[in-house]
Structure formats: C-alpha cells, structure tokens
Symmetry: C2
Subunit: 129 residues, 2 copies
DNA sequence: CTGGACCTTCCAGTACAGGGGAAGGTCAAG
DNA sequence: CTTGACCTTCCCCTGTACTGGAAGGTCCAG
C-alpha cells in the first residue's frame, strides 16, 4: 500500500505519515523498486493507535514511548496507566485554572459591559484591565 | 530608568522588555548618549498592563491591539469587551472539551488499573487505547 | 586601570504537530 | 507520447512568548 492510500485509509495526509516515520512512530516501511514507500496492511492500525493516543491527550512523544515498549516485546500497561494518571492530573489542573480564569474574566467583562469612556483617564490604558 | 531597572520594577527581564518593544507593546524609549534605553517612569504601568492582559488570558497581539486603540486616542472599552467575550467563549469551550477528555481518560485509566498483560495480544499496541 | 556588572545588536533555538512548496522521478490512461 | 496524479527528498514556515548566547561597548568601584 502506497503512502497516499494509507493516508486516506487512516484519515490523514502523506505529509503527516512521513513526519510520523521521522518521529519514530511508524517503522520505515519497505520500498518498491522505484523507491515508493510500501506499507503493510497493519500500518493502518498503527496510525489509528496514534490517533487514539492523541484523542486521549497524549503527545506524539508519549505515544512513541508506548509503542517502543510494545515493540520491545513488553506489555506497556503500567506505563500507559502512569501516563494516563499524569494526564488526568494535568487536565484537572488545567480545568481549575481555566475555571478561575473564567470567573476573573466574567467579572471584568461585566464591568466592561457598562462602558463609560469618559471616566477613563487618557493616561491609563484601560479601566477594565 | 535603564532597562534592567524597569525589568526589576515590573517583575520581568530585560530580554523580555526588548521583545515587547519589538512586538510594538512598548514604544521605543529614548536613548542615553551612549545608546542605553532610557525609560520614562510610566513604562512600569505599561508593562503592568501587559501582565494584567496576560492574566486575563489575552495574547500579546490582542493586548497590543488594545494599546494601539488607546494610543490612537480612543477608548478601547468596546474592543476590550469583545475580546473578553471571545476569550470567555473560548474558555468555556476548552473547559467542556477538557471535561470530556477527563471522562474519557478516567474510563481508560480505570480499565488500565487492572493490568492483564496476558490478554494483550502482541500484535496490538495496547488494549487500553 | 582593571574587573565585573550592565548595556547594545544579532542570530538561533525552544515546544508542538505538522504545512507549503520546489525540484525531480514514476506510473497508468488516453 | 504526453498529461496528470502520485511519489521522492529537501528545506523553510506557521504561532506563542520568550530564552540563550556571542561579540562588543559602557559605567562605576576599588
């Protein structure tokens, strides 16, 4: 299977697949006599796995770690659990930070909803920030 | 006031202040006879405003827009309100996306908490993703 | 007058996940 | 035979907010 076919089958682009190969997420495939990349059918599953990892908020580097462990013949379960734990922790933190930011902005915005430009002294940039 | 003094007074670095100047957030200050930047006292307020904008989640480009409006002699209230509105909308979306992601990962993680490596077929990367 | 702290400019790189496009080779259809 | 779609490598660009470092000039204390 050629790179464009794999790209279409996996819902991505040829450019991205070459990038994944460069990042070690896809093993270098065989080549046809003319130098075209020739992927085995299971490459689709591999790309799908990358996408599932991304959907779980993992970076490509983390997904690669998982694949490296599996490719070394070991089960990556523990590592996956740790990564998910860490990701979960990050997400909770992000959510609480964003919630605090939302509250701050809501207050500012409510204040800014009653514009009184005449009360803004020209030497300050903005009364609302 | 020299750049290092302003940096300390405003809680940032000289490097960052040069960067702000390059990005149009700080007007080019006067220079001493030897070429050193010489800031007026109100530069501190300007840098503080940048920091407050950042604390509200605005990008430097957006903060610059606000300053440009004010520097043009107009009151940026309406624009600030619009920016805050947009930012608020983005944040709500981010929060709901993160919440969904958190739920997804929680499920995956609970699943991964009972590792059964023997049930992982070697030809798939990970049973949990 | 020397040393160190400060200042100047400019170039380059960080993380992240690719995208754009040039220059050239290949393949199948008409 | 040619055209168009596809493939190859290569290098640079995107956005965000800085940071690091080199090479050189300046200021002040001792």
């Amino acid at each position: 299977m050629k790179i464009g076919e794999l790209a279409q089958a996996a819902g991505t682009t040829a450019k991205t697949l070459r990038f994944y190969e460069e990042q070690g997420l896809l093993p270098p495939p065989g080549r046809t006599s003319s130098g075209y990349r020739d992927y085995p059918p299971d490459a689709i599953a591999r790309v799908d796995f990358v996408h599932r990892g991304q959907a779980a908020g993992l970076t490509l580097a983390q997904i690669r770690q998982i694949m490296d462990i599996r490719d070394a013949g070991r089960a990556p379960c523990d590592h996956v659990r740790d990564l998910l734990d860490a990701r979960l922790h990050d997400i909770e933190q992000q959510i609480s930070q964003l919630s605090a930011l939302r509250d701050t902005i809501t207050d500012l915005r409510d204040d800014a909803a009653h514009p009184e430009p005449e009360t803004c002294s020209a030497d300050q940039v903005c009364r609302y920030l």
